[in-house]
Amino acid sequence: MKKTVLHIVTTLMIIGISVWLFAYDKAAEPGVLSWAHESIRDCETCHLPWRGVTDQMCLQCHSFRGNGTLKPQLQFHQAHAHCLDCHSEHKGYAGTISKVDHTLFNGELACTQCHFDAHNGKFGRDCRACHEITTWEIDGFRHPSSDNRDCHRCHAVPTSHEKEAFLKELKKRDMEDSPEETIKECWGCHTIYRFYGIAQND
């Protein structure tokens, strides 16, 4: 009899703890919310019961109606609609809640809508011709072909070329007729493989 009562009490206690844990929101919280969402107290604000976090739940606060309402750098959101593919929460107060997956973007999205073009447009708009989407680093330097004679578009004329010694060098190479033109004809002395190595003029 005593044993049976003990079993019943133990069972009821464990069931009670389980029910309490299920009902207590914080017991299931996998981590603290980020500073951006810290004011949210109720889990159901974002989590639709038995369905989870849907795009509609995010769009209750984050509206993307029309390009005009978005900053240029955020307009790529129009290209992909599923928030959880890039955003997640409960990673701590200062946690990063965005992890952009570039493979999700469609071809219409220009890289420069979000990224600063360090080449000032000199290499065109097709960033992916050289860059991959997982890293900015590229395998080795890819110089335009040797037929390209627009060196000055990227390379500024160094101050050393304005000195006497440079003019002497031009004279030596019979190129002193129009120094203003010659100074932009980099290929006359330089190669694309070794900019600081001067090609020997026979």
């Binding site: 844990l21 207590y24 976090v53 849907t54 959880l84 997640s88």
Partner: protein, 240 residues
């Protein structure tokens, strides 16, 4: 090398390493990923399979080879290991922590039951056998001494296997020596019985492990259920 018993020992060592891995590793996003959930689901199924053993033992009354304990241990250890992999050592939610702690306690109480209780039981069995032998020897000696002594206090020399001559003719026989041996044996028996009482008490303590093991297992199953229900309630992000 690959006997069932050894495999279980390897699984236990693997489990200990996995748990200890939490000291140097943690992956906050693995548990919620599709692969992480797969580990969790398969692990829980293995843990559920451990119920086969108590069901067959208590309901179907199958014991011994018909219901091997080794399978129960293997299912439990594989399940527990998969669940630890699922957690990826991220212990942040209260329910997750409770699942992990009860899991470790269930495995620990299982090890106590399987190995320590078994050893105590075996020692007790050996001591009982020794006591039986000792008691038989004491009884034999007692019979010999009783038979050798006459009611008037003199010794029946023939019964004692000695010549019926005056005392100075049998100086080699000393009844005290026989009595001393008898007393020593009685002393040894007393010591043996004391040790057995200690082992008996130990056995009683260990016999409670099954209740503790059962209780924590019950708690573990309840926590797994709460964990699964809350996960479904708040949504599986990777399914969205």
């Amino acid at each position: 090398m690959w006997t069932e018993k050894n495999i279980n020992a390897y699984l236990a060592v693997f489990f200990v390493f996995l748990v200890a891995g939490g000291l140097v590793h943690q992956n906050p996003s693995f548990a919620g990923s599709a692969l992480g959930h797969t580990f969790g689901i398969v692990g829980s199924l293995f843990i559920l399979m451990t119920l086969i053993y108590p069901f067959r033992k208590r309901v179907l009354k199958k014991k011994g080879r018909q219901n091997p304990l080794n399978s129960h241990i293997a299912y439990g250890l594989i399940g527990a290991s998969l669940v630890v992999i699922h957690s990826a050592h991220k212990f942040s939610s209260l329910i997750g922590i409770l699942v992990f702690l009860s899991l470790v306690l269930v495995v620990l109480s299982g090890v106590v039951g399987r190995y320590l209780y078994k050893h105590v039981n075996r020692s007790l069995r050996e001591q009982r056998r020794d006591r039986k032998l000792l008691k038989a020897r004491i009884d034999n000696r007692k019979r010999g001494i009783t038979a050798a002594c006459l009611p008037d206090g003199t010794i029946a020399m023939e019964e004692a296997g000695l010549p019926e001559d005056p005392p100075n003719q049998w100086p080699d026989y000393d009844i005290h020596e026989d009595c001393n041996a008898w007393l020593n044996e009685i002393e040894a028996l007393a010591e043996k019985e004391y040790a057995m009482r200690v082992f008996d008490r130990l056995k009683n303590v260990f016999s409670r492990w099954i209740r503790i093991h059962f209780l924590i297992s019950f708690f573990l199953f309840a926590m797994i259920m709460v964990h699964v229900l809350t996960t479904l309630y708040y949504g599986l992000s990777w399914l969205g």
